[in-house]
C-alpha cells in the first residue's frame, strides 16, 4: 500500500511566517512535502472561507501562520486572525467538521527552526487522523 501523504494548505503571512519558512530553507532544515504554502500579506487577509474551501476541497489540514501577538507588521492584524480562528473552530465543531485539523501558530521571521518543527509535528498529527473524511461531502 502506498504511504499516505497528507496535503496541508498553509497560509503564511509575508512578514513573519513566510520569512520564517524561508529561513528554514536557508538553514536547510527538513520537513515533509505535505506543507503547501500560500503567501498572503497579513494573516488577517485569511478569510475563514479560504479555510473552509480548502478543507471541503480535500485538504487534510489547514495551517495559518502569523506574527507573534504584538509583533504584527500591520499592528493588529494577527489579533483579528486569532479571534477569527477561535470562531472558525467553533463553527467547525457545530457543523460536525474536524476542527482538530486546523492549526494556528505564531512564527516569526527569525524562527526557521520553529517553522520546521511545527511542520513536522503537524504533518505527523494529521497523518494520525488519516484522510479528511469531509472532502466527499462538498456542499459549497
Amino acid at each position: 500500500m502506498k504511504e499516505y501523504k497528507p496535503k496541508i494548505v498553509c497560509f503564511l503571512c509575508k512578514w513573519c511566517t513566510s520569512a520564517g519558512a524561508d529561513l528554514a530553507g536557508t538553514s536547510r532544515l527538513k520537513y515533509p512535502s505535505s506543507i503547501l504554502p500560500i503567501r498572503v500579506m497579513c494573516s488577517s487577509r485569511i478569510d475563514p472561507m479560504f479555510v473552509v474551501k480548502a478543507f471541503l476541497n480535500g485538504a487534510d489540514g489547514v495551517f495559518i501562520g502569523g506574527c507573534h501577538p504584538g509583533d504584527c507588521h500591520y499592528h493588529e492584524g494577527n489579533y483579528h486572525t486569532r479571534r477569527r480562528f477561535v470562531m472558525l473552530t467553533k463553527i467547525f465543531d457545530t457543523l460536525g467538521l474536524d476542527s482538530k485539523r486546523l492549526k494556528l501558530s505564531w512564527i516569526s521571521a527569525s524562527e526557521g527552526t520553529k517553522f520546521a518543527k511545527v511542520s513536522n509535528e503537524y504533518t505527523e498529527e494529521i497523518k494520525s487522523y488519516g484522510e479528511n473524511p469531509s472532502k466527499l461531502n462538498v456542499f459549497l
Binding site: K5, K7, V9, S18, A19, A21, D22, L23, A24, G25, T26, R28, L29, K30, Y31, P32, S33, L36, P37, I38, R39, V40, M41, C42, S44, R45, I46, D47, P48, M49, F50, K53, A54, F55, N57, G58, A59, H73, Y74, H75, E76, G77, H80, R84, A116, K135
Partner: protein, 650 residues
C-alpha cells in the same frame, strides 16, 4: 487569455539537485495558459534576464512566472526586467521553489511534485493579475524632529544644511539634552559643552530651522510626505525679545527648588535659565513652583524686571505645521536609583548616579568642578563605582546591556584621579565592554597608568559605618570577599527610554520593544527607519548608545529624510484594497478593521472608500467585509480560491 511564460531556475544545483526541472518543464508545458516554458541555470543572471525579456517579445507574453528563490530576493529584479520590455511589472509572479521546496526536501519525487503545485498556484494567481501602476502623491518638503538632544540637533543640522526646512521640537526650555550635562567625553576627554554649544548655536542661527522649545507634539495625522502636526508651546512667561538676560529677577525670587540641570545637587529659583548657554537664551517661570500665579502672593520678579519682559497671563500657543517626514529622537532617562535599595540610594547622600557624578566633575556643576562629596563637602579619598546597576539583571531590573556604562565609568575614575591625585577608585564590573574605536586603549591606559582597581563581581550591599560607607561584595575571580570603606559610591545606572515620551510614541503609533525602546524596521538593514513610512529613529530612543553612535544614527536618519524629500512626488505600492460600489452596504466594518485610517465612509454615496496612499495593503478590511465588496488588488478572493484548488484537488 493571457499568454503566460514560465521560467524555471536551476539556481546552479540549489534547485536542480532535488527538483527535476526537465520533468517540470515537460509537465507544465501542457498546463492551460502556459504559452512558453523554459528552464535555465541562473535566471537572475544577465543572460537569464535577457532570456525572459527576449521571450516576452518573441512570444508576445502577457505574464511571466519565475520559479526560483524567495520573492524577497529577486522579485524586483524580474519586475524591472518585465518593465524594460514594456510589460507591466505586476504581470510577474514568483514561485518560491527554493527556500520553501528544494532546500527543505530530500526526495526528488516529492520535491518535484510540490514544485509543480507551487508553480501552478503562481500561474493561477497570475491569470487574474491586473496591470497596476504605483500610486503617486505630492509631498511637503519639510521635516519634523522631536527631541533636541545631540541626536535631534545633528539630524536637524544635516537636513537644514541639505536645503530643507526643519521644525525642531524640544519639551524642555532649552535644547541640549543629556549631553550638555556631561563633563568630558570618552575616549578623547574633550569637554562636552565645548563641542556641543557650537551646534546648539547653529540650530538657533540656521535659516532653515524653526525651533520650538518648551513645546510638545500634541497630535499627528496624515501619511508619509503629508503629515499634519499640532504643536503646543507652553508659555515661558518671559518675552525673549524683551529679556536682556540681566539676571535681576532670580536674586529676588523667594522660591528655591532642586535644579534639573545639576540633577538635584544644587538649587535654582522658580524663575530661571536652565544653564548659561541655554538655547533659546531666555528665562522661564516654572509655574508649578512660582508664587506669582497667585497675584497677591508675589510679583517680585516682575517688579525687578527693568524691560518689563514678564507676563503672568501668557497662555499656551498652538501651531499647525505641515511636514513630510519625522525623526523621533526622544532620548533616555536613567533607571530610577530608588529601585536599587541594596545600594542605599536615598538613604546615603554620597551614593550618586552617573549623571550626578558628571555634574560634580563638570566645571559648571554644583562644586565648580572640584571634587567634594554632597554630605559634608569632604574630598573623597576612596570611591567605588558599580557598573551594570540595573542592567544585565533580568530577574530584578533590566535584561539588556546599557552599552555606555563601562566606558563612562572608567572615564569617571580617570577624571576623579585627575582631580584627587592620592585618591583610589575601585570599579565593580561584570565584563568590560569597550568595543568602540580607541575605547580599549582608553581602558588599558587607565588601568596601567592611573592605578584604577577593577573587581569582577557584584556588590551585595552598602551600609554606613561612621562617615564611611562599607561596600561589601565578592571578587568572583579570586572568590574572595571584598569590603571597601568608601567615601563615595557612584552607580552606573541603566539607560531606559525617556519617561515622558511614552504618550508621544503612542500618538505617533510607533512600536516599542519589551523594554520600551523604539523598534527599527530591520535590526541590521534598516536601523534608522521605523515600520511607519516617513517616521525615522535616532539616538537612545531606539536603544542605549554612546555619542558617536547617536550622531551617526542621526546623520543616517537625516540622509533617509533628505532622500525622501528630494523627490517631487512619492510612490506607493498599488497592492491596495478596492471597493465594489455595487456590493458595498456602507456598514463601516472595514473602517474599524483598518489600522491606518485608510478606510472612510462616503457620507453622500453611503459606501466605504479607500485612501490609496494610506492603505498598506494588509487585507484586514477585505476579510472583515461581510458582503465581499472589498477586494485586494492582485490577490482577490477568486485568485486565492483558484490557488487553494490546485493544492487541495489532487
Amino acid at each position: 487569455m493571457k499568454r503566460i511564460g514560465v521560467f524555471i531556475c536551476h539556481c546552479g544545483i540549489n534547485i536542480k539537485a532535488t527538483v527535476d526541472v526537465e520533468r517540470l518543464t515537460e509537465e507544465l508545458a501542457e498546463y492551460p495558459g502556459v504559452a512558453y516554458i523554459e528552464n535555465y541555470v541562473f535566471m537572475c543572471s544577465e543572460p537569464g534576464q535577457k532570456l525572459i525579456k527576449d521571450t516576452i517579445i518573441e512570444h508576445k507574453l502577457g505574464g511571466v512566472v519565475v520559479a526560483a528563490c524567495s520573492p524577497t530576493l529577486h522579485e524586483t529584479t524580474f519586475q524591472d526586467a518585465l518593465e524594460e520590455v514594456g510589460l507591466n511589472r505586476y504581470q510577474l509572479e514568483i514561485a518560491n521553489i527554493r527556500e520553501q521546496c528544494s532546500w527543505v526536501h530530500d526526495d526528488i519525487e516529492e520535491a518535484t511534485r510540490k514544485a509543480n503545485l507551487i508553480i501552478k498556484t503562481a500561474i493561477e494567481r497570475l491569470k487574474l493579475n491586473d496591470s497596476l501602476y504605483p500610486i503617486s502623491a505630492s509631498l511637503t518638503k519639510r521635516a519634523l524632529i522631536i527631541g533636541g538632544g545631540i541626536a535631534g540637533i545633528q539630524a536637524a543640522l544635516d537636513i537644514a544644511d541639505g536645503g530643507y526646512e526643519v521644525i525642531l521640537v524640544e519639551k524642555e526650555p532649552s535644547i541640549g539634552g543629556h549631553m550638555i550635562q556631561l563633563s568630558e567625553t570618552f575616549p578623547t576627554l574633550d569637554c562636552s559643552q565645548c563641542i556641543m554649544t557650537p551646534k546648539m548655536v547653529a540650530i538657533n542661527k540656521h535659516k532653515n530651522i524653526k525651533l520650538f522649545a518648551n513645546s510638545e507634539v500634541e497630535s499627528i495625522e496624515g501619511f508619509v510626505g503629508n503629515f499634519k502636526v499640532s504643536i503646543k508651546r507652553k508659555p515661558q512667561y518671559v518675552d525673549p525679545d524683551k529679556c536682556t538676560l540681566c539676571d535681576d529677577c532670580t536674586p529676588v525670587c523667594p522660591v528655591v527648588v532642586p535644579s534639573e540641570y545639576d540633577e538635584g545637587m544644587s538649587w535654582r529659583k522658580a524663575i530661571y535659565i536652565p544653564f548659561p548657554q541655554s538655547i533659546p537664551a531666555t528665562f522661564t517661570i516654572d509655574t508649578e513652583n512660582c508664587l506669582g500665579f497667585n497675584p497677591i502672593a508675589c510679583t517680585k520678579c516682575s517688579d525687578a524686571c527693568g524691560p518689563d519682559a514678564i507676563d503672568y497671563d501668557k497662555k499656551p500657543e498652538y501651531f499647525e505645521e505641515e511636514i513630510g517626514a519625522v525623526i523621533v529622537a526622544t532620548g533616555f532617562d536613567l533607571y530610577p536609583v530608588e529601585n536599587m535599595a541594596e545600594y542605599g540610594y536615598g538613604k546615603y547622600p554620597d551614593v550618586l548616579d552617573g549623571l550626578q557624578f558628571e555634574r560634580i566633575l563638570s566645571a559648571t556643576g554644583p562644586t565648580g568642578g572640584e571634587m567634594h562629596r554632597p554630605s559634608d563637602g569632604k574630598i573623597p579619598k576612596e570611591i567605588v563605582f558599580i557598573q551594570c546597576s540595573g542592567s544585565r539583571d533580568p530577574e530584578r531590573h533590566n535584561p539588556y546591556c546599557s552599552r555606555i556604562c563601562c566606558m563612562y565609568t572608567i572615564k569617571h575614575a580617570k577624571l576623579y584621579k585627575h582631580k584627587v591625585h592620592d585618591g583610589q577608585p575601585y570599579i565593580f564590573y561584570i565584563d568590560i565592554r569597550s568595543g568602540g574605536k580607541r575605547y580599549e586603549e582608553f581602558v588599558q591606559q587607565a588601568v596601567t597608568e592611573e592605578g584604577i582597581v577593577y573587581f569582577r563581581g557584584k556588590v551585595a550591599r552598602i551600609y554606613k559605618e561612621a562617615d564611611k560607607m562599607i561596600v561589601s561584595g565578592i571578587d568572583t575571580l579570586t572568590s574572595k570577599k571584598i569590603e571597601i570603606k568608601a567615601d563615595m559610591v557612584v552607580l552606573a545606572q541603566a539607560i531606559v527610554p525617556n519617561f515622558n515620551a511614552a504618550k508621544l510614541i503612542n500618538t505617533l503609533k510607533l512600536n516599542t520593544d519589551e523594554n520600551g525602546f523604539l523598534i527599527e524596521a530591520h535590526p541590521k538593514l534598516r536601523p534608522v527607519e521605523s515600520l511607519q513610512a516617513g517616521l525615522y529613529l535616532a539616538g537612545t530612543a531606539q536603544g542605549p548608545k554612546d555619542i558617536p553612535d547617536a550622531v551617526s544614527q542621526a546623520s543616517g536618519a537625516a540622509a533617509k529624510v533628505l532622500a525622501l524629500l528630494s523627490n517631487d512626488e512619492i510612490s506607493h505600492s498599488p497592492i491596495v484594497a478596492i471597493v465594489n460600489e455595487e456590493l458595498c452596504s456602507g456598514c463601516g466594518i472595514c473602517v474599524s478593521a483598518c489600522p491606518y485610517g485608510a478606510r472612510e465612509l462616503d457620507e453622500i454615496k453611503k459606501i466605504a472608500t479607500v485612501n490609496d496612499v494610506l492603505c498598506e495593503g494588509c487585507g484586514a478590511c477585505i476579510t472583515a467585509c461581510p458582503s465581499s465588496a472589498a477586494q485586494q488588488k492582485n490577490l482577490t478572493d477568486e485568485q486565492v480560491f483558484n490557488m487553494i484548488k490546485i493544492y487541495s484537488y489532487l
